[in-house]
């Protein structure tokens, strides 16, 4: 077993993992954040995407030990006390997800894109999300959401939303009733 230190969404975690433990499994099972999803384990679908030191990484293709000491952002780390991140808001407003399984990858990939390119054109958006599969939306609404998020963030108005929506805190689902 290996001792690995990860700073996940600003919080320090020290976990014990096997050498072969994938980062996605460490995040889901050892850190306990299940918002990062497993879709293929072959690096093709992107549902497991997280940010490792600011760069998008398919966490199924990385060993947990190789991320020792890294700062990791997962889907759970995007919303702040003030509410949803503008990228999250844009995805909701634009119907840019249905089942939500690919969302962690789409959101974090978008965050990374907008971090380096505040005004991406469609080609840049496509290039960014080409590594993330979505089977529900056909991608058009995702492109729209990325553009809307870019516009909002450029306007410096991260929560350009009706008051009623901003004040609502996200509702957690009930735990399993077992």
């Amino acid at each position: 077993m290996n001792r690995v230190r990860l700073k996940v969404n600003g919080q320090e975690h020290e976990i014990e993992v096997e050498s072969c433990t994938l980062l996605v499994h460490a995040i889901r099972e050892d850190v306990g954040l299940t918002g990062t999803h497993v879709g293929c384990l072959t690096g093709d679908c992107g549902a497991c995407t997280v940010l490792v030191d600011g760069a998008s990484v398919k966490s199924c293709s990385v060993f947990a030990v190789s991320a020792d000491g890294a700062e990791i952002t997962t889907i759970e780390g995007l919303a702040g006390d003030e509410g949803l991140h503008p990228v999250q808001q844009a995805f909701w407003d634009e119907f840019a997800f249905q089942c939500g399984y690919c969302l962690p990858g789409m959101l974090l990939t978008t965050c990374e894109l907008l971090d380096r390119d505040q005004d991406p054109d469609d080609a840049a958006i496509d290039q960014a999300i080409n590594g993330n599969l979505c089977r529900c939306t056909g991608y058009a609404s995702i492109r729209s959401a990325v553009r809307r998020a870019a516009t909002r963030m450029a306007a410096g108005d991260p929560d350009a939303l009706p008051e009623s929506q901003r004040s609502e805190s996200p509702s957690a689902e009930p735990p399993p009733s077992a």
Binding site: G39, W92, C99, G100, Y139
Partner: protein
Amino acid sequence: MTAVTSADVVVTGPAIGSSARKEGGDTLLTGRGRFVDDYTLPGMRYAAVVRSEVPHARILRVDVREAEQSPGVALVLTGESAAAHAGPIPHFIDPAARGGRYTDVRCLAVGKVVYAGQPVAAVVADTRRQAEAAAELVRVEYEPLPHVLDGDDALAADAPLLYEEWPDNVVLHNHYGTGDVDAALESADLVISDTIRIARSTTAPIEPRGYLASWDRLDETLTVYGSLQNPHQLRWMVANSLGLDETAIHVITARVGGSFGLKMQGHPEETLVCLLSKLTGAPVKWIEDRREAFMAGAREQVHRFTVGAMRDGRIVGIRDQIVANTGAVSAQAGWAMPNMSATTLASGYTVPNVQAELHVVVTNKPPLNAARGFGKDSAHFVMERVVDLVARGLGLDPAEVRRTNFIPAGQFPYRTATGLNIDSGDFPGLLDKALAALDYDALRKRQADLRTEGRHLGVGLAFELTPESADGPGSFVSGFDVTTVRMTMTGKVTVYTGVTTPGGGNDTGIAQIVSDELGVPMSWITVVQGDTERCPGGFGNFSGRGMVTGGGSAALAARDVRAKIATVGARMLAVPVDEVEVAHGYVRAVGDGRTVPIPEVAAAVVTRAFAIANEVEPVLEATRAYKPGNIDHVPDERGRIQPYPTYSSCLHAAVVEVDAETGQTKLLDFVMVHDCGTIINPALVEGQAYGAIVMGIGAGLTERLVHDAQGRLASDRFKSYLLPRAGDLPTIRLEHQVTPSPFTMYGNKGAGEAGVGGAQAAVANAIEDALAPFGVTVREVPLPPPAVLALIDEARTK
């Protein structure tokens, strides 16, 4: 009582028809949606499935000794030992009930295997990795049998038999249609015969299947969490196969990460995981891996057709012989899909003489599983190819041949030659809108100009008719559903419905309906789905039924609750009940605008039951079923039945440029004009349509499940099975047309299935059109670059 003035009432418009944002979207956006793999229970163990590596063989011996000694292993179960505890899995649709053949399907193979990938044994261990490692140590000794992978080959007299109790490899053989096709072909100016092949593709939701079962040894009850479409059917199936009382089983549907038919019930792992939990006394989780998910086929058919048409483009007769390769038999509903391919043939066209003969054939491939389109997609692919071939043969414009043959807008309900009673529509209207959106004449001119430069632009049209909200007598394909609406004494509303959502958003649509019918804001409403203990008995998700049956029953239940709120609210306002309206959380006196908040009325119903609410039954809850019209199972004089209340329709137009040197197809534009009747939530309908279109584009261009000569899956990952990615697609344009159904609650029709077959046909037609200078004929999908190059080569060598 604090009646307030109308000035205090915040009035918004009706919820129905608005693009309300997705219910609970924030839960998913913040990573707190609970999918099946996110559930953990104390003492939980993990299962791995040992699968056959051969396509057809007798099982001589299963040696589990080494696996049992492997670290962390609690149980290794073989087919023989499973059969001692579990009976066959009941069929979702029993082939025998449809005039076909029955065979036992078990959770683990007993005696022999009939496809590579079939579950042969299972391992339960403390961790998933331990279970998978131990599964590798199970030794299975096989005596190979001859196998058959192709549908035509399986029909040969000397073909190996999959099920030895059957005389041949045919699950279902049936004839469809009416009229005198021979005479029609005799009279026709143009007769074309050809063969069309639709390759095996798959649904591939991003979340694979998964189940977590927990047997309680003390209570002798079973709790099952799963990524499911049909929780009540699952409860019945597991009760049957494990010999349990249905009431001892509680099924809870986790959030579903896409399904598209794949997660309808009848999979062997459902019974298996429940049995493993019962035998080990521990909660057992099994999550399918991607390789396993790729085994599920969605469609695979060969059509040998003859069509006759008159010089003006009128199609007078079609004969179609269909061989559908369903793979091995599964208890899931996939085998039944080709039935709808035959029934939907001739689609929205007035073809008077149609004869289809269908053989649904078993082979040593993995089973077909239910898939969006449910066989209707293949009917559209064939029919739309046929229309284009007729247009080409007569030198007519394909748009005009469609117009010539469409059922005229004034002739509904229209009974087709195969018996479908199409409720409503305006198919020429769809075509007009699509051609306008394309600027069709200008596009044809541009095509001609580009051809002079040696460039190959193509335009493909395809019409699609989608029978929705099916009812199959004697099966769990039910045309009705049930919803409970319950209001608390604070006015909050919980809706418990028998329909489930695979992620598309019918919960949002149902909340919109309840909001309007009950007169409360959307934010007061919670929708609960997929829980057999909380929701009324219903049928889940399939056949575009969510809003027709779930929405209809929710409306009826909401109206019952509203009636009580109106009665007591009117008394509180001291006006007759027919002089109040209930909306936006208030009961309002129409005359003077005074209002009373619904929470105060709800509290009065419960706390003043012998006073102001006297004679009103003090329960703010109603459970109602909704049965749409137009379903008719009494055969007509020609033996035709009518299992669908309503028919959505759409017209697709694809514009492609094909590189004749590389075979690469670039999709430049895609338009769909969609008619699902009254729209409850436009954004949700559009989202469903976009997804279905892209699935059809994938099945038309790149998606193909490939098996090697030994029936083993070669395309077992997203690197070898190519889903469309963002960069492959233009921005799809969607337009609506609304012709309400006379047979459903709001005139709404099904949405969500329409798109696959039409898009598949539109891109194929566009490629043929692009390559018209070479004279190619598309006879098979998908059309990846090598297939396109082969088409050009074939045409050149002719």
